[in-house]
Amino acid sequence: MEVAAVTPVRPEPGTGHDHPLAPVVRRDLDVARVKKDFPLLERVVHGKRLVYLDSASSSQKPLAVLDTMDRYYTTTHANVHRGVYQIAQEATELYESARAKVARFVGAGDPGEIVFTKNVTEAINLVAYSWGRHNLGPGDVVVTSELEHHADFVPWLQLREEKGAELRILRLRPDGTLDLDNLDQVLDGAKLLAITAASNVLGTLPPLRRLVDAAHDAGALVLVDAAQYVPHQSADVRQIGADFLGFTGHKMLGPTGIGVLWARRELLEDMPPFLTGGEMIRDVRFDGFTTNDVPWKFEAGTPPIAEAVGLGAAVDYLEALDMGAVREHERALTAYAIEALKARYGSALVVHGPPQPEPRAGIVSFTYKDVHAHDLSQVLDEAGVCVRAGHHCAKPLMRYLGVSATARASFYIYNDEADVDALVDAIGQSDTLFG
């Protein structure tokens, strides 16, 4: 596929924003500098500095992404893959170059293996509807885990109901890691393993390589829900070895409304279309239709063009920071947070999930005394601290934990120790109401 070599919407050095675009060798993340790229973080709420600790839900957006999308709309917008005029061609080039950037970012050699979706939920549903309904029948086994977000759970429940497939669940151990003692038995005869790369509640990082190898040995394909993984560490689909991998743009500095399904080309070529209509079609007659090539076969209708271009800018931004540095920053900050919470509150505060130094993502779910997470979150809001409170769209996991809700702090490139300190200080303020 031809890919535009130039990216005219990329901010020009020295004229745009002072973010580190130049490729760098591995180095520490300069959080103070990164923060400057996120105007939203300058907001004051309830008279307090905004402390945003909910990036696992949705990340904030750097100026580079916002400006790129603005510039796309103010200079280039037209529908893609249609017009022969100049700006239509430029829009198409930008859209396809975003696809190429995303492909490169996750180590996919072939941009044709990148399908743009609405979000990771749609990416997983695409696989469940297209591959699943085409390949699974009564008694066929799908394996998933107790760690999953509803997005990687409900589609398989639905497939069980519709097709009579069998659903097996990899269970949790008390430390928040998966119990893999009988992995081979669970996978025996399976057609698909659908597994998260990083738990959105506990931060657990399952041993992907081991899981993928075991699944393949059992003859199963592997779908990886990488929504909490791709934004935070270097991801290489070939190294992971998965067959399908989904993630979403808005958790990785990009806009909402754009997600990604990566899948091996031969799988995509064999799969029937998911949504049908324009764009995904090659020919339509009264007696039938033929589909477009991958990936466009799965992109019915006018796609989210500006969103894809924005995601491309987000990828540029992350690559310039270096994903190794991003991961190391979050690992250190998470360790600092867990340490600080324990030091201040001792046994009054329970951090759920793998204990340090068990590897975990930059996600810390906790409960404080018997204060309900909603009440805690309300108190934290008063201090300007934004955390998620609730079941995190993972009710099977919450049942395992035996809690109806937790508070969850999650970290990204613009968070620093001062943000963690604000969180730690604010938690204790609930004592005056609920102590």
Binding site: H46, H372, A373, H374, D375, Q378, V379, E382, A389, G390, H391, K395, M398, S404, A405, L433, F434
Partner: protein, 176 residues
């Protein structure tokens, strides 16, 4: 800007710490109704015993935040021992109190919309509705501050939805 003291009044915290009528009733004969808030996972179960047109007993179980639990506790205290029509009037008055009326905020009002869906909307305040219905809201008025925190309205209304369902089921069961 509303402060936390508008939300967490002392009477609310008292009901949260010491919930009234907490527990279960044998069902049947009691009516059992469940309410869930799918967004936050809060759940409430209302057990309703009706005898000769009276709410002869009422118990509440479940789990949730201070607003949902205290609202359930206050609700139980407000309607236990009252007639069915008084209970319905209380629901109506509470419903009016939890509607945004003059505030007219967008978003977060899903709980209101759901609670109001089967009710005629008017411009009366909760206390006005209560006065017109010949009842008093009493402690329940402490929950008025919740309206200033629109995302929490659905916490306060969860148990009331569930009571309305239980009353409906009781009526259906009695062939009414």
């Amino acid at each position: 800007m509303p402060g936390l003291e508008d939300l967490y009044r002392e009477i609310i915290l008292d009901h949260y710490r010491h919930p009234r009528n907490r527990g279960e009733l044998e069902s049947p004969p009691a009516i059992r109704a469940e309410g869930f808030n799918p967004l936050c996972g809060d759940e409430v179960v209302v057990y309703l015993a009706v005898d000769d047109g009276l709410v002869s007993d009422l118990k509440v179980s479940g789990q949730g935040c201070s607003i949902s639990q205290s609202s359930a506790s206050m609700m139980s205290a407000a309607v236990k021992g009252k007639t069915i029509s008084q209970a319905r009037a209380t629901i109506k008055a509470f419903r009016a109190m939890m509607s945004l009326h003059g505030h007219q905020l967008d978003g977060g009002a899903d709980g209101v919309a759901a609670l109001s869906s089967d009710a005629e909307m008017d411009d009366r305040t909760g206390p006005e509705v209560a006065a017109d219905e010949g009842i008093t809201l009493g402690d329940l008025e402490a929950l008025q501050g919740v309206v200033k925190f629109p995302v929490r309205i659905k916490c306060a209304t969860l148990s009331w939805h569930t009571l309305a369902q239980a009353l409906h089921d009781a009526e259906a069961e009695s062939g009414g």
